[in-house]
Each structure stands twice: as C-alpha cells, then as structure tokens.
C-alpha cells in the first residue's frame, strides 16, 4: 500500500512539473491583461528548440536557454500583435498554436530528414527521484508569488490587468508591463516545453505537447489566477494523470477518458462558480488604448 502511495505521489509530481511552468506563464500574462491561448504552441516550440540546440551544441543547459529564447520570441509576437495592432488575443493565440505545430514538424523533417521524432540528444538526467525541472518549478512558484504579491513591480502588473487607465494615470507604462509579462509567459512556456523534451526523455516527438498548454491554462484558471493556486491545480491535474497510469498497471477499471476529461470538467465548474468562484482580472483580454475614455 505504502509503495503504491509513494509511486502515486512521485508520478503526480512528475506529471505536474511540465504544467507548472506554462501555468505560471499564463498567470503573469493574464494578470497583466493579455489572454494567452498560445501557451500550447509556445511549449511546442520550446520543446523543439531545446532538442535542436542540445543536438547542435551537445549541452542541455544551452538547450534550455534556446527554449527560453524561442518561447520568449513567440511571446513577443503575441505581445506585439495584441498590444500594437490591437489584434484579438484569442485569434493570435490560436494562430500561434497552428504555426507552432506546423513549424516544428516542418523543421523536424528538414533537419533530421524523417518524420515522427528527432534523434536522441543530451538531456538533463534525474537528480534523485525527480528531474532538475521539478525543483526549478517549485522555486519559480515561490518566486512568482513573491514578485506578484510582495513587490511594487507585481503591484504594477496587477494594476495594469485590473484597471489600466488608473495605472496609466499614476505613471505606470501599461504597454511596457504587458510586454514584459507576455514575453515572460512565453519564456516560461518554453521552459515547460523543454521539461517535456530534454527534461524527461532525450528527444522531440511530433505532438508530444498534445494539449498540455491547454491543461496548464485550465490549471491557471482553476487556481484562480494565483501562482500557488495554479501550482496546486497542476498537482491535482497531475494526480488525475497519475491515477490513470497506475490504475492501468494495476488493472483497475477507471475509464481513462473520464480521468482525461476531469481537469476540464472541474475547470468549467470553477469558472461557473460551482467550485469556488474563479474571476479573471478585470481588463483581461481587452486591448488598452492610450487616451481612450
């Protein structure tokens, strides 16, 4: 019994790790007022870039760095189009997801000359029961909480997402704050992607992200747009995943589709106010225009 529990706990944490980074990213982005539906695509380009850089340089650390840069670049794209061109943020996010899926597969075929998956590259071998990424996730959760709720910078982020006009009047640069947060969300999603590729296995597979960015988005909402809440939600969703894996190996008959769908059903209940009301930042998704009444 004890062994099952320890397997379950370890498996939960391992499933939750890649979700925590994009969930934190989403929290920063939405706290500043920009909806980031593109987390999934940013994870995909992150996962791919990590493998590509590690393949070219032999260093997984540089791979992680590459994932952050490319993830951040896609974050910048979302920021640029939604802040400067006032594009519909959900549409741009969707376009990023389509683009990321096609671009990674295209480059995979062009660089490795075969579809499906890349060759093996150097990756982060586990430290103890977990990978480096798990510890990094824990640290980033605490740092994110501290930055958002205990520093003037975090206060500005929240002000820009709740009432940009008031923040602007007080001299906060709304555009700048949103740029920083959205790029940060891309960087974090990139790390999340890297934790899937060079963090657990040593290669990139087509479709390996498979909607994890959307689960992270759900976790962020279920966690009420709060870093610690989001991380706990990731753990909870990770538990559903772990139960599914373990129940299969122990021959228990829980329909796996039910466990897969559970995070999404819970999130719907949460936003509908049935499982504790989750309310988005007031200016979430609304482009800000200077001088507008």
């Amino acid at each position: 019994m004890l062994s099952i529990i320890s397997i379950l706990v370890a498996s939960t944490i391992r499933s939750a790790t890649p979700l925590i980074f994009p969930a934190l990213g989403g929290t920063f982005s939405e706290k500043s007022g920009v909806v980031n539906i593109g987390l999934d695509g940013m994870m995909a380009v992150g996962a791919f870039s990590a493998v590509l850089v590690s393949y070219k340089t032999g260093s997984p650390l540089l791979g992680l760095f590459g994932a952050m840069v490319i993830g951040g670049l896609f974050g910048w794209l979302l920021a640029f189009l939604s802040i400067h061109f006032k594009a519909n943020q959900v549409v741009v996010g969707t376009a990023i997801n389509i683009l990321a899926g096609s671009l990674t597969t295209f480059l995979l075929v062009e660089i490795w000359g075969k579809p499906g998956q890349t060759d093996n590259v150097n990756y982060f071998t586990p430290w103890g029961p977990f990978n480096m990424f798990t510890y990094l996730a824990l640290i980033l959760v605490l740092v994110s909480y501290y930055v958002l709720y205990k520093t003037p910078f975090g206060l500005r982020i929240r002000a820009v997402g709740e009432h940009p006009r008031a923040a602007d009047t007080l001299g906060v640069n709304v555009y700048m704050m949103r740029y920083i947060c959205v790029i940060l969300s891309g960087i974090l999603a990139g790390i999340g992607g890297a934790s899937l590729s060079i963090g657990s296995i040593s290669l990139f597979k087509e479709g390996m992200v498979a909607g994890k960015g959307f689960i992270a988005l759900a976790a962020m909402i279920f966690g009420k747009w709060h870093p610690i809440g989001a991380a706990l939600a990731c753990l909870f969703f990770g538990l559903a995943d772990a139960i599914q894996t373990i129940s299969m190996s122990y021959g228990l008959n829980v329909p796996k589709e039910f466990l897969f769908a559970l995070p999404y059903m819970l999130t719907m209940l949460a936003v509908s106010g049935l499982v504790g009301k989750a309310t988005a930042p007031a200016a979430d998704g609304i482009p800000y225009e200077k001088g507008e009444k």
Binding site: V35, I37, L77, L81, F85, A87, N88, V90, V91, V92, T94, A95, I96, N97, I98, L99, A100, G101, S102, L103, T105, F106, V109, E110, P115, G207, A210, G211, F214, L217, A218, I221, P255, E257, F258, F260, A261, Y264, M265, T267, M268, V271, S272, G273, A280
Partner: protein
C-alpha cells in the same frame, strides 16, 4: 439618381477594400512560405505547382478538395455566426466531434427508416448535438457570466474524451480503434455514383447542403429581426440592452445556431465521408480551421464560402507537395501566417500609416508643418 450611383460606387469600393486586405495578407503569407521553402534549398515554384495540382489537378482532386471545403464552410460559418454576436466560438471543434458521434448513433440505431428520411434525421441529430454542446456554453455565459472562450476550450476536450469513450465501448467495432459503420440508408449520396469524373473522390451532396446553409446564415443575419438583434448585440451589448433587446437570449441563440453549423459539419463527416467515427488521439483541426476560414472570409457567409475553398485547396494540395519532397506542413505555416496578418489588420494599419506619412510629407513640402 446621382446619389444612387454614388452609393453603388462607394459600396463597390468598400467591398473591393474588404476583399483586398485579406487577399494582400494571403499573398504575403504565400511569399513567406516560399522564402521558407527556398531557405531549405527547395524550389518554391515546384512546391506551389504541386500544391495547385494536388488540389485542383483533375476532377477527382477537385472533388476531394470540395469534400474538405464542405466541412470548412460549415465550421467557418459556425465561428463567423458567433463572431457577429460578439462571441468567440473556439469550441467548433468540440461541437464538430459531438455532431459526428450523434450522427453515428442516429445512422445506426434508427436503421429501417426510408433512405432520404434516415439520412436527414442523421444529419439533424448531428446538428442538434452540436447546437446543444454550444448552447451549454452560451447558457453559462448568459446565466453566470463565465467566459465562452474558457468554457468552449474545456468542452472541446470533454467532447473528445466523451466521443473516445463511446467509440471504444458502446459504439465499438470489436478490436478496432473506431466505431461500427452506419446503415447504408444513412449515407449521403456520392457524385461518384453518377459521374465518372468523380469516380475516385468521395464528393457527396454535403457540398450543396453547405452552400444552402451559407445562404440561410446570410438570410438570418441580414434579413430577419433576430439577425439584426444578434448583430446589434455583437456591435454593442450595452446599447442593445438599452434599446430593449434581450442580450442574454441572443447570446444563447447565437451560440446554439453556431453549434448547429459545426454539429452539421460533424454529421456530414460521418454520413458523407467516413461512415464511422475514429478514436481520436488529438483534435481533427476542422473546428480550429473554421476560425481561419471565418477570419479570412471577414465573418461574411459569402466570404466564408470563398475562404473555405482556399483552405480546402491548401489542405488537399499539401500531400502532393510531400511527394515532391517538401513537407506538407508548409501549408499549416502559411495558414498560421495568414491568420496572424488578417487578425492584426496588418496590411490595413500599414497602408494607413503610409498614407499619414505621405500627408505629413506633403504638408511639410507645402510649408504648412515644420
């Protein structure tokens, strides 16, 4: 008389502009795709030639392109209709899946009905399932104010898992990762039965249904009071409320109608193309493509038909590029870039900036501004 001519002129000019901006975005995206192909040492001309002939090379290829176009017109209309009410239906994917499963059920469980009636009921079951699936999202938005984007994303995943569960249990073809087949009476008529040109394509009567639905969508939006109200809510919900329009009822209605279209697309996929439903490992993408189609079609039913043809051709031409050694994902990349350009109004904003600059320069030249 003169007024009338001027009116016509200005409306023509506006229509031209509406068409010109998406067209410019499409051209730029194709150029970007060409640069990418060239960067990897392949010929863009070979790529686009293969794309073109892969999509429209002969009658069978045209038929196959139209099969995809059928689906894309319907999911495009779905997204566009909700858009006109100010709603973002990112859940077309889930509604499509539910429509497919419901049609599967009706196409099998109701066998024994006369052929034309059976296929009609099958398609209606699909549409209805999509309508209910979207209606839940609309109802939640109207009653508790939860955002339709979040809920419809969640409903997409719930639909996929629910469908997979049903396909692998009650509807399962033993030992296979797909469902059993629908009854012959529930299948849509295929052109291949009478036209030898379409012998190797699955082109079916769904394309005609899609075109009729586009006209119906146009009629509802532009010629009925309900459509006027839906557009008013999309334009300005507060003003509509003040003007006596029931905003909540219109939100629910717009979502239901939007869902009917996507559900019908799913139903047609089952009754016209696959005759079964597969166990899905990921989304089909038809619902998300509907977003691109609606956007490029400017959320107008006629525009949706045209962009449905474009995206249908892109998707069906892709595999032919693959044969020429160019990854078919170029198509997805082009599609992504098109959406980015259209969504950001990139061309329009750039043209405006250029004009403003020119005016300022002209004024400087005249010495009006220093």
């Amino acid at each position: 008389m003169e007024n009338w001519i001027n009116d016509l002129k200005s409306s023509l000019k506006n229509t031209m502009k509406e068409i010109l901006y998406p067209l410019a975005a499409i051209v730029i995206s194709f150029i970007a795709g060409a640069i990418l192909v060239y960067a990897f040492g392949k010929s863009p001309i070979t790529a686009y030639k293969a794309l073109f002939f892969g999509a429209l090379g002969d009658w069978n290829k045209i038929g196959e392109t139209l099969v995809t176009t059928t689906t894309l017109i319907l999911t495009g209309l779905s997204v566009a209709f909700a858009f006109r009410c100010g709603l973002f239906n990112i859940g077309a994917e889930g509604q499509f899946i539910m429509g497919g499963v419901a049609a599967l059920w009706a196409g099998w469980a109701l066998s024994g009905l006369p052929p034309i009636l059976h296929v009609t009921v099958t398609l209606l079951a699909g549409a209805l399932a999509g309508g209910i699936w979207a209606g839940i999202v609309g109802w939640l938005k109207a009653k508790v104010g939860s955002h339709e984007v979040i809920n419809s994303i969640m409903m997409n995943y719930i639909a996929m898992n629910l469908s997979n569960y049903l396909i692998m249990t009650v509807f399962n073809e033993p030992d296979k990762a797909f469902s059993y087949e629908i009854a012959p009476t529930a299948k849509l008529w295929r052109f291949a039965e009478s036209f030898v040109q379409f012998k190797y394509s699955r082109l079916h009567t769904g394309i005609i249904i899609a075109l009729i639905v586009a006209l119906i969508a146009y009629y509802i939006l532009n010629k009925t009071i309900r459509g006027y109200e839906i557009r008013a809510v999309g334009f300005n919900p507060s003003a509509s409320e003040y003007g006596g329009i029931n905003v909540n009822r219109n939100i629910i209605l717009a979502m239901v109608i939007s869902g009917l279209f996507s559900g019908l697309a799913g139903g047609i996929q089952t009754a016209g193309v696959q005759y079964r439903v597969n166990n899905l490992f990921g989304f089909t993408g038809y619902g998300f493509d509907g977003i691109s189609v609606a956007l490029v079609g400017n959320n107008h039913p006629i525009g949706v038909i045209l962009s449905g043809v474009l995206f249908g051709a892109l998707q069906k031409g892709g595999p032919m590029m693959q044969i020429e050694g160019i990854p078919k994902e170029v198509v997805g990349i082009i599609q992504g870039i098109i959406i980015l350009f259209v969504a950001s109004n990139f061309v329009r904003v750039m043209v405006q900036k250029y004009k403003e600059n020119k005016e300022i320069k002209a004024q400087v030249a005249k010495g009006e501004v220093k």
